[in-house]
Symmetry: C2
Subunit: 76 residues, 2 copies
């Protein structure tokens, strides 16, 4: 799985677990909402400092945003 | 600790554990040696795709490059 997609899926999961909207997360991380949306969709390529800022806003270690994910199994 | 410094220290540790020179790692990760040196010194701000390329070359999950590190205790 492309790392940008992986980061996006992890980010969305943690954001929703925290009950934050993209807007709220963007505000906390001092980013634009459309940038957060782009990261979640896997179309942005954040640097480690941006990733750290997002992780701090989510209250998770930045390494968790790079966690491996199981490929969703396509139904037969 | 600044995330770039943390990435640099983790990278150097994994690279040395693998017995790779900066030159060899740069070749494997299709980067310039001076860029690898800059990441190790904490003066570069790699994107997640560059981090993934380095991690693949090292044979470690990219999340490990963002592992938390204990601040080195300054001797009294």
């Amino acid at each position: 799985m492309d790392v940008r997609r992986r980061v996006g899926l992890n980010l969305k999961r943690f954001r929703q677990e925290k009950g934050l909207s993209q807007e709220q997360l963007a505000f906390e991380a001092k980013l634009h909402r459309t940038y957060v949306s782009g990261v979640e969709r896997g179309v942005r390529n954040p640097t480690v400092t941006v990733l750290e800022g997002i992780a701090v806003a989510l209250g998770v270690p930045s390494s968790r945003l790079l966690d491996e994910l199981e490929e969703p199994r396509t139904s037969a």
